[in-house]
């Protein structure tokens, strides 16, 4: 689905990390192992759309995000931003594009330099990119970004240092710093998981309003409930692959893939009366170094059959799907 409109097109992304062998391992000529973090992921983000990559630890969602913003080199596959191929781009070619793709990090307590005031932090991107403007213009841009991020009145916050701010405020500073260059795509890695519940909605609504203004947002989260509420579309990841994707509400209310079904059944619900019978899978997500043959989920799958050990399923519209774009990678559905 590649239209001229699409902001981000990721196709067959593969990113692996080598596992360090150590001296002893090298001497003993142990095979060089790799962490198969991302093993062929395809998705698009359009302007004004929020896509959530959802999954448990080890599923590859964070590595996917890091590959998209080029913090990590992918091994193969294509990452196209507004039609331009990012994969393989050198640092100097990548630099001007960094204005348009910004990342928000999980830890509000770590993502700000403790010695930089709010102004310094938000101003820095302007200085890095050598945007030709006077000090006054920069100040205006900084204050605009602060307003956009909800840090008003800006006078109250602009001289502050991180240790004088709450978690929610710090996250807003980080968001303001990424807004100051007018990005087109925002990658948010667990933006609220370290914040108090009462503060989360504020940040998420801020992201939602940015989306409404035309920004594309790629959100990484382990929290299905957040994804269901704020994202337009969800991709459920497992061991480096997308196992199910589709409109957010549809995926959550009508899951097709057995993994998604199990996940949704175990997420605790707010209403004590509405607790579903949890379908608890045995064991834990296997190490992405040794990926099972055939369908990667088959060792834990409640409905796996013999043929699942041989066939590696592709994403396709499931029988129970309500829409064409709701797809699952399972040969049983």
């Amino acid at each position: 689905m590649s239209t001229a409109e699409t902001l981000l097109e990721v196709e067959d992304l593969v990113t692996r990390y080598p596992v360090p062998r150590g001296f002893v391992g090298a001497v003993r000529r142990e095979p060089k192992l790799q962490v198969h973090a991302v093993e062929g992921v395809t998705f698009n983000v359009a302007p004004g759309e929020m896509l959530a990559l959802v999954g448990e630890s080890g599923c590859g969602k964070t590595t996917t995000a890091q590959s998209v913003v080029r913090m990590v080199e992918n091994d193969s596959g294509s990452i196209r931003f507004r039609g331009q191929e990012l994969s393989g781009l050198g640092p100097s070619d990548m630099r001007p594009l960094r204005k348009d793709i910004q990342m928000i990090y999980q830890d509000p307590y770590e993502s700000l330099d403790p010695r930089f005031s709010v102004r310094d932090t938000i101003e820095e991107p302007l200085l890095i990119h050598g945007v030709k403007m006077s000090g006054d213009d920069r100040e205006t841009k900084v204050r605009e970004a602060m307003e956009r991020a909800g840090l008003t009145p800006s006078d109250l916050y602009i001289e502050r240092y991180p240790h004088e701010l709450s978690g929610g405020q710090r996250q807003r500073v980080a968001i303001a710093a990424s807004l100051v260059l007018d990005p087109k795509l925002l990658v948010a890695d667990e933006p609220v998981s370290m914040l108090d519940v009462s503060v989360r909605a504020g940040i998420l609504r801020l992201l939602d309003s940015l989306r409404a203004d035309g920004m594309g947002i790629l959100m990484i989260t382990h929290d299905l409930s957040t994804a269901a509420h704020f994202a337009d579309r969800i991709c459920v990841m497992y061991l480096g692959r997308i196992v199910e994707e589709g409109p957010a509400k549809e995926v959550v209310r009508n899951p097709q893939h057995p993994y998604t079904k199990a996940l949704i059944s175990v997420v605790p619900k707010r209403d004590p009366r509405q607790q579903t019978e949890p379908q608890i899978l045995q064991g834990e997500t296997p190490n992405p170094v040794h990926v099972p043959a055939g369908c990667r989920f088959h060792p834990r799958c409640p409905i796996a059959e013999e043929r699942c050990k041989q066939i590696d399923p592709e994403l396709h519209r499931a029988e129970g799907s309500q829409t064409d774009d709701h797809r699952a990678a399972c040969i049983m559905v």
């Binding site: 175990v266 605790p268 619900k269 607790q275």
Partner: protein, 329 residues
């Protein structure tokens, strides 16, 4: 008329203060009162800084020298707080045990898991040598880890398994009450489900009573029968989890639920403006009033009473107080 079971743990008017570096004190827990019945699973819910962790640390007597404590703590009817460390120590781990926040990362990396679980048994004199070893294996099986893994080191266990081991450690001396501080916060959703199921099984099979401290409301909704919501060091509402959700009597409870996205629901997710009050100054009026959407006349000046609403329910809010609402109308 069937006999009402005696509460296994009773906390009455618990206060905890911390001395502050520059002088003054932080009143972290302000008059907490609740009961825990045998076999009951109670949730202690609140956001950061509300005093929930401090409360259970106080019950365990694990407070630093800068802390002072007041109130009554009764374990099976016996007062244990009166002489501080002296009176609490004999009960620690033998009767009340705790799974700490981040316990899964608090294992000694150079000691075998089995030895670490056996340690409290030896320290508290409940078992030694071969008996201890056998009990350790039983405990591991109980929490869902193969007994043979007792000889392994912590780094050989996954996160979820270490959390199970931490629970086994807490159960080492067969306590009657288990206090769990955010036991599933750092875990994946599937592993969280496994641990919650484990806790459920333990309370049912062993008759263990559980206090689950967490900020995660849905977890409490799933696992606990009752819950107490804490704010600024006080319990603002308490009751069984169903009624708490369907008929909250304190605005904070209601707003907290509203701020929690529900997987299948369509409701808007709200945020609560403002921040909790400072606890180093005396608070005038209701501590939640500045952020409350239903505050009315008495709220800024009069601290609300805890109103009993029957069937174990209570709420600390003027809206439930007929004398306060009458005075206004």
């Amino acid at each position: 008329m069937s006999a009402v079971p005696q509460p296994i743990l009773r906390v009455e008017d618990l206060h905890i203060w911390f001395d502050l570096a520059g002088g003054g004190e932080l009143h972290a827990v302000q008059g907490v009162t609740f009961e825990l019945k045998p076999g009951e699973r109670m949730g202690l819910v609140g956001e950061s800084g509300c005093g929930k962790t401090t409360t259970i640390l106080g019950i365990m007597g694990l407070l630093p020298p800068s802390a002072s404590i007041a109130g009554r703590i009764e374990l099976e009817g016996e007062e244990i707080l009166a002489k501080g460390e002296e009176s609490i120590a004999p009960h620690r781990w033998n009767d009340i045990a705790m799974v700490f926040q981040g316990a899964m990362n608090a294992f000694n990396p150079v000691q075998r898991i089995g030895d670490q679980i056996a340690e409290p048994m030896e320290l508290h004199g409940t078992a030694t040598g071969k008996t201890a070893k056998a009990q350790v294996r039983e405990l591991l099986e109980l929490v869902g880890i193969a007994g043979s893994r007792a000889d392994r080191y912590p780094h050989e266990f996954s996160g979820g398994m270490r959390q199970r081991a931490a629970i086994a450690l807490a159960l080492a001396c067969q306590p009657k009450v288990l206090l769990a501080d955010e036991p599933t916060t750092a875990l994946d959703v599937m592993v969280q489900a496994q641990i919650l199921e484990l806790l459920l099984r333990l309370t049912r099979d062993l008759g263990l009573s559980l206090i689950l401290v967490t900020h995660d409301l849905p977890v409490v909704a799933q696992l606990c029968d009752r819950a107490a919501v804490m704010y600024a060091g006080e319990i603002v509402e308490m009751g069984d989890t169903q009624t708490l959700y369907h008929d909250p009597r304190h605005p904070y409870t209601r707003m907290l639920f509203a701020a929690t996205p529900d997987l299948l629901g369509d409701d808007d997710v709200l945020s609560i403006p403002g921040a909790p009050p400072r606890l180093d100054h005396e608070i005038v009026g209701c501590p939640f009033q500045p952020r409350c959407d239903s505050a009315f006349e008495p709220c800024p000046t009069v601290h609300p009473r805890t109103i009993e609403l029957g069937a174990g329910r209570e709420a600390m809010c003027h809206l439930n107080d007929p004398t306060a609402t009458e005075a206004v109308s």
